[in-house]
């Protein structure tokens, strides 16, 4: 049983020997060593191993003689490289930069990202769900090209007039132009074949979708630039594997880190490429571990690679630091309702922090932290003029601080908890807000609406709400309710029995033996009674966590629990979102399980009692890492909270590879200038077909090898390229595509583009090898012809389809495609396309 594994073991140890010898013989011949370190499919019995080894040595000779150069254009022939590369560069820049200023109005999401770029130029705070790097770069590009940040970017379709918008668009387009070039270089490394590299570059150059998405002020071209650059430097680094610690080794290693940081700093999707590189590193380590010629103790490579792996894992953490430095402002109120010109975050500081994070990738964690700490201090000094009360108004309408814990808020200038001043100990008769201690937990909240029929009893709803609101205010009463005493009020102590009255509606916080609306194991919490008169179910015992009888309740710092007197349950926030009847606020229940979790712990955040003196309070400062974690959890919640609206046409992940439906960038009617984001159908369907083809080819190749058929050196090399290079690209495609199936947030067509890059590169390899295998069917001269014809047909059909569909990217006017007289008549191949 499982003798396969055993055989694999033997095979690996055998292989290592050959590999080692080949390294000694010719250290620089990378393709050869790649070839010999073949996947475990190679062989089962010992004689087969020798066979394979024989092949590879034979192959060695051949390739060093250059006799197989006619099959593949080798990298020895330098001139075609340069010609092809120059061609790719020229074509890609000219297709992307052509008509860059058209249309001269705001298109699609330019309204967001252009606006955010302007904010950076104007140094205004804002709130967004994406990390800051992309928007900073856009801002920088605009700044450098003379855009003054005054254009409001209110809605798509607004004319730019005299504003200098071309700089930002041009910057994105330049980054987008690098994609085909990177694809070319990556494939050259992976497959050593110019044909494959050229095919995938052509596919990307003439894909209308890639052109369109590169030409506007969007985050996607920047993101894809970093993704491709990261993959390229990773592939280059893999090539340096046998020359550790040389300058180029370090160069590509550091560059990989920088690009990963860049990708993740633009959008969270960058995480997937970090995963790809991480998996590649793990595989590399596993390979090195099996290399018995390297001693573990002395092997610096191993240790260094381990560090690389760690830094990949840490990469995300580091980026969070980066994110915090640049994106700290997002904890402040939404720009839609409030902008505060005094509280600025200087651009250069953000860039500085970005740079220092890159350095940190190679180990300078301490310095970075110092710089960031300084940054925060600097900002705090700068924006000392705060108007606290206007904040409350503002926060009622926009997203803001309320999402964060009290401790976090106290670190944000502009927040009422920053240098808070309030009575220190909770007293009877005070007006308070109560905040849950779960990460991103809400305030205890109630409003006039009742629970609907069928959900427990029809009493007033009590929820947890993340925004600051007057309905979060509660009054603290004694159980026997006489708060009209004069003099200084009594303080509340641990173990006291209190009643909480909702200030706006004068209902008491109440619980009873009905099932809670969502968490059926818990009891329902309602608002009950009128003007403070209720029943015994309104009584709650207040406990300070870790406190003893008689302890006072410290505002902001004490963690408290509310135990229901009648049923013994504890006030609990489950974190589940109520349906529409509950305004999609968070459920509050009374849990019979008394385990201490943050969900059942609360703190008193605001405390207003005119009879007590206000004291300046220092809130417990959260740890640096806690801030990181919290800000990210809030961001990610914000991201996944982007749920589709009822009437919105929701794009499904399965739509994307078949090019089912595009996105309108500009214009709807016949009179308008229309740009439609849609991939070149020929390219996309070719990609789809070659995914299937690739799987079939790999299956055939691996069965042939496993069955031990003797193959020529060319075939062996091809199957190597197919499995290793193609495998890497397939993994990249999967990592950038499959996760979308599990996402609950609203999805758009353009989310597929990073995956599409990998898919196109895979097509390059697949088609090239398929055409190269023409000699399986035909005799040599004919097979060469067939190969040439195939390449020509491919090239021409891509070019012709680009000619047909280019108005999608470069804009079209006149009647829609299904109407007579349209320039696009007859091109609406699918009903779902909307041009």
């Amino acid at each position: 049983m499982f003798s396969f594994l055993m055989a694999k073991e033997e095979c690996i140890s055998q292989r290592n020997k050959t590999e080692h010898s080949s390294i000694l013989r010719n250290r620089k011949n990378i393709p050869t060593s790649l070839k010999t370190s073949q996947a475990p499919f190679t062989s089962v019995s010992k004689d087969k191993i020798s066979q394979t080894a024989g092949h590879s040595s034979e192959d060695d000779n051949q390739s060093s003689n250059g006799s197989s150069a006619q099959l593949f254009t080798r990298r020895h022939g330098e001139s075609p490289v340069k010609v092809l590369l120059l061609l790719v560069v020229g074509l890609s820049f000219s297709t992307r930069l052509y008509k860059i200023t058209e249309p001269p109005h705001v298109c699609w999401d330019e309204t967001h990202f252009g606006k955010m770029g302007s904010y950076y130029i104007n140094r205004t705070f804002f709130f967004d769900v994406h990390p800051p790097l992309g928007k900073m770069l856009i801002g920088l590009a605009g700044y450098m090209t003379g855009y003054d940040g005054t254009f409001p970017f209110i809605k798509p379709g607004d004319k730019y007039e005299q504003h200098n918008y071309w700089g930002m668009r041009g910057f994105c387009a330049v980054l987008g132009s690098f994609l085909p070039i990177f694809a070319y270089l990556i494939l050259l490394e992976l497959s050593q074949s110019h044909t494959a590299a050229f095919i995938s570059a052509i596919l990307l150059i003439f894909d209308t979708g890639c052109i369109t998405i590169s030409q506007y002020i969007l985050l996607d071209p920047i993101l894809m630039f970093f993704i491709m650059a990261a993959v390229l430097s990773m592939v280059k680094f893999n090539q340096q594997r046998y020359r550790p610690f040389t300058a180029s080794w370090w160069f590509w290693l550091v560059l990989t880190g920088v690009n990963l940081a860049g990708a993740f700093g633009v959008k969270f999707v960058g995480l997937f490429v970090i995963l790809l590189v991480g998996l590649n590193t793990i595989w590399d380590l596993w390979r090195l571990l099996g290399d018995l010629s390297l001693s573990l103790v002395n092997s610096r490579i191993f240790i260094i690679l381990l560090i690389v792996l760690m830094s990949d894992v840490r990469g995300s953490t580091i980026l969070l630091v980066f994110f915090l430095a640049g994106g700290r402002c997002k904890a402040l109120p939404g720009s839609s309702c409030w902008t505060h010109p005094a509280s600025t975050l200087p651009l250069r500081y953000n860039i500085c922090s970005a740079l220092c994070c890159f350095e940190q990738k190679v180990g300078m964690i301490v310095e970075c932290r110092v710089i960031i700490a300084n940054l925060i201090n600097y900002d705090m000094m700068m924006s000392h003029t705060l108007f606290e009360w206007s904040l409350l108004f503002c926060l009622a309408s926009g997203p803001g601080d309320g999402f964060f814990s009290s401790a976090f808020q106290s670190r944000l200038m502009g927040n009422n908890l920053y240098n808070a001043s309030m009575p220190e100990y909770l007293a009877y008769g005070s007006t308070i807000t109560v905040k849950n201690l779960r990460i991103a937990g809400g305030y205890l909240h109630s409003h006039w609406h009742l629970y609907p029929e069928g959900v427990g009893s029809r009493q007033q709803q009590v929820t947890a709400y993340s925004h600051k609101d007057y309905n979060n205010l509660w009054l603290v009463h004694r159980q026997d309710d006489n708060n009209s005493q004069s003099g200084s009020p009594d303080l509340v102590r641990h173990g006291d029995i209190i009643r909480l009255e909702h200030k706006e509606t004068t209902r008491n916080l109440h619980s009873h033996l009905h099932e809670a609306p969502l968490t059926k194991k818990h009891f329902q919490v309602t608002g009950y009674g009128i003007n403070g008169t209720g029943d015994t179910n309104d009584l709650w015992q207040l406990e300070v966590c870790g406190g003893r009888k008689g302890d006072l309740v410290k505002v902001l710092r004490s963690k408290v629990r509310f135990l229901h007197r009648a049923t013994g349950c504890v006030l609990y926030s489950s974190g589940k979102t109520l349906p529409k009847w509950g305004w999609e606020q968070v459920e509050v229940t009374c849990s019979p399980y008394l385990k201490e979790t943050p969900s059942s712990q609360w703190n008193i955040e605001d405390h207003i009692n005119p009879k007590l003196p206000n004291i300046s309070l220092s809130v417990l400062k959260p740890h640096f890492l806690e801030i990181l974690l919290e800000s990210h959890i809030v961001m990610i919640r914000g991201n996944s909270g982007l749920k589709p609206k009822d009437n919105e046409m929701n794009s499904k992940p399965w739509h994307w590879p078949i090019n089912y439906q595009g996105l309108r960038f500009s214009g709807v009617n016949e009179t308008e200038y229309r740009v439609y984001l849609l991939g070149n159908p020929v390219v996309w369907w070719l990609n789809l077909a070659s995914l299937g083809l690739y799987l079939i080819m790999v299956a055939v190749a691996s069965i042939t090898i496993q069955r031990g058929f003797s193959l020529g050196p060319k075939r062996i090399e091809q199957s190597q390229v197919l499995m290793r290079g193609g495998g890497l690209l397939l993994l990249g495609w999967l990592l950038h595509y499959a996760p979308f199936y599990t996402m609950g947030r609203v999805l758009y067509y353009h989310h597929y583009f990073p995956a599409m890059l990998f898919s196109s590169m895979l097509t390059g390899i697949t088609v090239d090898i398929l055409l190269n295998s023409a000699d399986l069917l035909l005799q040599p001269p004919y097979s060469d012809w067939m190969q040439r014809v195939g390449q020509m047909v491919l090239l021409l059909s891509v070019l012709y389809s680009f000619y047909l569909f280019h108005p999608l990217s470069y804009g079209m006017t006149g009647p829609l495609a299904h109407e007579p007289g349209s320039t696009m008549a007859g091109l609406k191949w699918m009903d779902s396309w909307e041009f």
Partner: protein, 721 residues
């Protein structure tokens, strides 16, 4: 011949007495006093209704799983002579004497009991010793949660039995000498039990995939073996493990559909064609309807979408409000909605645009074809179905659809609709009752009549909104409509027509759709139907199962404290978790060391170790991890299949430790023996402790019950006296 008749006739039999013993014990623990709580226990209330429907042969659709499981339960009921006349309405309801409780529960209990010897045999097939096998059997035997789950009319025990059987027979096949052809019987058995497992619950699919993975690895090795001709072998495997299971899976549905041929409460979810194939129900109405829709036909139009609810195109004498709540204006014309009940207002007349009269069918009837332009007249109010460039009430991005009222406000009638038969390739160009799926395209605006699925507010009587949407925006089944009830109109005058509409249709024709069409539709509906998300009082999250955070109260005696809970044996549960951790740790260490060339284990032992991991840890993973991604309401009993794999793992891992890791010193071995016996003893003790909650007797006092509440999070009920 003489040799064959030679005497004496000798039968030599080898009986594994241990196996017999554990089997008997298993039967005793699972089958004794099986009919004891003579009341509906927990999910019996759910499965029971389906058993009743089987007995009455009434069609139903259950999205929780394929039909084989229900059919097995129904078989037990059938053998016990259950007639289906029992209302399964609440947990704890007493069974009447006419219901044979024993026979309802015996099949799952039998399966549960057979799991124990099966685990014993499976351990042997994994090439571990009889002692390990005995250990695994004992762990399974004394697991309270498995006993509880087996003793009632529930499906988990059946699923576990089938999955274990599949692995056992596959390994039997794999371990048998290559020369014997008899081993393919085992392979076939493995395929059959896989199909049965998937047919009982969809969770079985993951175990099936794991088995396929293991079989693939073996086959892959086989391909590498150049001394063999592998073609036949590969084909045999593919047939037994792929083709047979798929065919059998379809066969379960064939049985299901041929057993259930009467219409019932779930008909509404299915298409009209499907409903028409069931006895009673729609077929009673539609029998004898004219097949081809003609100008002048009176029809009801049913939306092809079953979301949110199946409904018919409807209109009534009420207009859209002049202003909606949000201040937007409407056309103030007559409402057109979609109504989920049969009603005389669902009738529409198909009219030729040119004809002035045209409310009657000509002789011979002129059928409506694909591409024809028609008008639709509402039968009771004679308003024309109309649409125009006014925003719809709830979906403002789409056009309003109304019954046209001429208010003389420069809003001309736009009441022409083009008939677009979307399944004309399969059926025909002619519009047919029930069979044709039709899209109605508005001629003036080329928008399509669509059910938006939103409920109208009170002014629309909470009926569903119907809109006209631009073709490219809308897609899917919400666009399609089909004619359900149909007759040729014979009266021109509105008064006569009203009377005609009130009278029922009848003429005779019978329509059958093929099994495949029914199968595909049923399968699709089962996967697509979403149940209301609601948390149950005893539901739990997957991560809580590992530590057995929650229990489930299955049954409580009406007057006393006697009760049954799904609580596992805490000691065995701990042992299982420990062995899972230990295996992963050990495997990681072994792998790293082997990679560096240290071979701690001989290859044969390493293979055995890997195989153990693939089956047991793999089995745990595939039966546990998918739940983490599911959004269903989950219960502790979903964890039981995964748990069984861990019970299989623990003794085998112990044996491995004993033989290969422990030094041979006597003290170590003695210490291990003592430890093992102590653990077994405590397993037994905790089994005994929880027995009252497992079997529901004897009744415990409140104090004793409080003592059994080992974790704060368990809900054990006491009566206040």
């Amino acid at each position: 011949i003489s040799a064959m008749l030679q005497l004496p006739l000798v039968v030599t039999a080898q009986v594994d007495l241990v196996l017999v013993l554990v089997s008997l014990l298993a039967l005793w623990t699972r089958l004794s006093r099986l009919s004891y709580p003579n009341a509906v226990v927990f999910d019996e209330v759910y499965y029971g209704q389906f058993v009743s429907l089987y007995m009455k042969r009434v069609f139903f659709i259950d999205d929780s799983g394929p039909p084989l499981g229900h059919m097995i339960l129904a078989l037990g009921a059938y053998l016990g002579g259950f007639d289906g006349n029992f209302v399964w309405n609440r947990i704890g309801a007493e069974y009447p004497s006419s219901v044979s409780v024993w026979s309802l529960r015996v099949l799952p209990a039998l399966c549960g009991a057979l799991c124990v010897p099966l685990v014993y045999l499976l351990t042997l097939e994994l090439r571990f010793s009889h002692l390990s096998a005995l250990g695994a059997a004992v762990l399974l035997l004394l697991e309270n949660s498995l006993i509880v789950q087996s003793r009632f009319m529930l499906l988990e025990s059946v699923l576990i039995f089938l999955v274990l059987l599949a692995f056992f027979s596959y390994l039997r096949f794999h371990n048998a000498p290559t020369s014997s052809w008899f081993r393919y019987v085992w392979l076939l058995l493995s395929g059959i039990s896989c199909a049965a497992a998937v047919g009982v619950k969809y969770m079985g699919l993951f175990s099936y995939l794991l088995l396929l993975g293991v079989a693939f690895l073996h086959t892959w090795n086989l391909i590498g073996d150049q001394s063999l001709n592998v073609c036949v072998q590969c084909v045999c495997r593919v047939v037994c493990l792929l083709v047979v299971p798929v065919l059998l899976y379809v066969f379960w549905f064939y049985l299901h559909l041929s057993l259930l041929n009467r219409s019932g409460p779930h008909d509404q979810l299915m298409s009209s064609a499907f409903q028409a194939s069931l006895q009673g129900g729609l077929s009673r109405i539609t029998q004898g309807q004219p097949l081809e829709v003609a100008y002048g036909s009176q029809v009801t139009l049913r939306s092809s979408a079953s979301q949110p609810i199946p409904c018919w195109l409807h209109s009534h004498k009420a207009n859209y409000p002049v202003r909606y709540e949000n201040g937007r204006g409407s056309s103030h014309q007559q409402q057109v909605t979609c109504y989920p009940f049969k009603d005389v207002n669902n009738w529409w007349i198909i009219k030729h645009p040119g004809h002035d009269g045209g409310h009657m069918v000509d002789t011979p009837p002129r059928p409506v074809r694909h591409g024809d332009v028609i008008q639709l007249v509402h039968g009771m109010t004679s308003r024309f179905l109309n649409s125009h460039d006014v925003a719809a009430p709830m979906s403002p991005h789409a056009q309003e659809v109304s019954g046209y009222v001429d208010f003389n406000v420069s809003m001309p009638a736009q009441n022409l609709w083009k008939v677009d038969i979307s399944n004309r390739e399969a059926e025909s160009e002619v519009w047919k009752t029930i069979l044709s799926e039709v899209r109605l395209v508005h001629v003036n605006t080329s928008a399509v009549l669509k059910l938006s699925g939103v409920s109208l507010p009170d002014w629309g009587f909470r009926q569903l909104e119907v809109v006209a949407e631009k073709l490219f925006k809308a897609h899917g089944s919400s666009l399609g409509w089909n004619v359900e009830e149909h007759r040729y109109g014979t009266s021109q005058e509105p008064k006569e027509r009203e009377a005609e509409l009130h009278s029922p249709t009848h003429i005779d024709v019978d329509r059958k759709i093929s099994f495949w069409a029914k199968f595909l539709e049923l399968q699709w509906k089962m996967l697509a139907v979403k149940q209301e998300e609601s948390e149950h009082k005893y539901s739990s999250a997957p991560l809580e199962w590992i530590t057995m955070e929650t229990n489930i109260a299955y049954w409580l005696h009406a007057t006393t404290n006697a009760q049954i809970h799904l609580i596992g044996n805490p000691v065995s549960w701990g042992v299982a978790n420990l062995s899972l951790l230990a295996y992963q740790l050990l495997a990681a260490v072994y792998m790293l060391r082997r990679r560096r060339g240290f071979k701690d284990l001989p290859d044969a032992v390493w293979d055995q170790f890997v195989c153990l991991g693939c089956v047991c840890v793999g089995g745990w993973v595939v039966n546990f991890v998918p739940f983490l991604l599911m959004e269903k309401t989950l219960f502790l009993y979903h964890y039981l299949p995964a748990l069984c794999y861990l019970y299989l793992l623990s003794p085998a891992l112990l044996e491995h430790t004993h033989t290969h890791l422990l030094s041979s010193s006597v003290t170590h071995r003695c210490a291990l023996c003592v430890c093992v016996s102590a653990v077994l003893l405590s397993v037994f003790v905790s089994y005994r402790t929880f027995c009252p909650l497992t079997y529901g007797s004897p009744e415990l006092s409140a104090n004793q019950l409080r003592g059994l509440r080992w974790r704060d999070t368990w809900d054990i009920l006491y009566r206040r006296r």
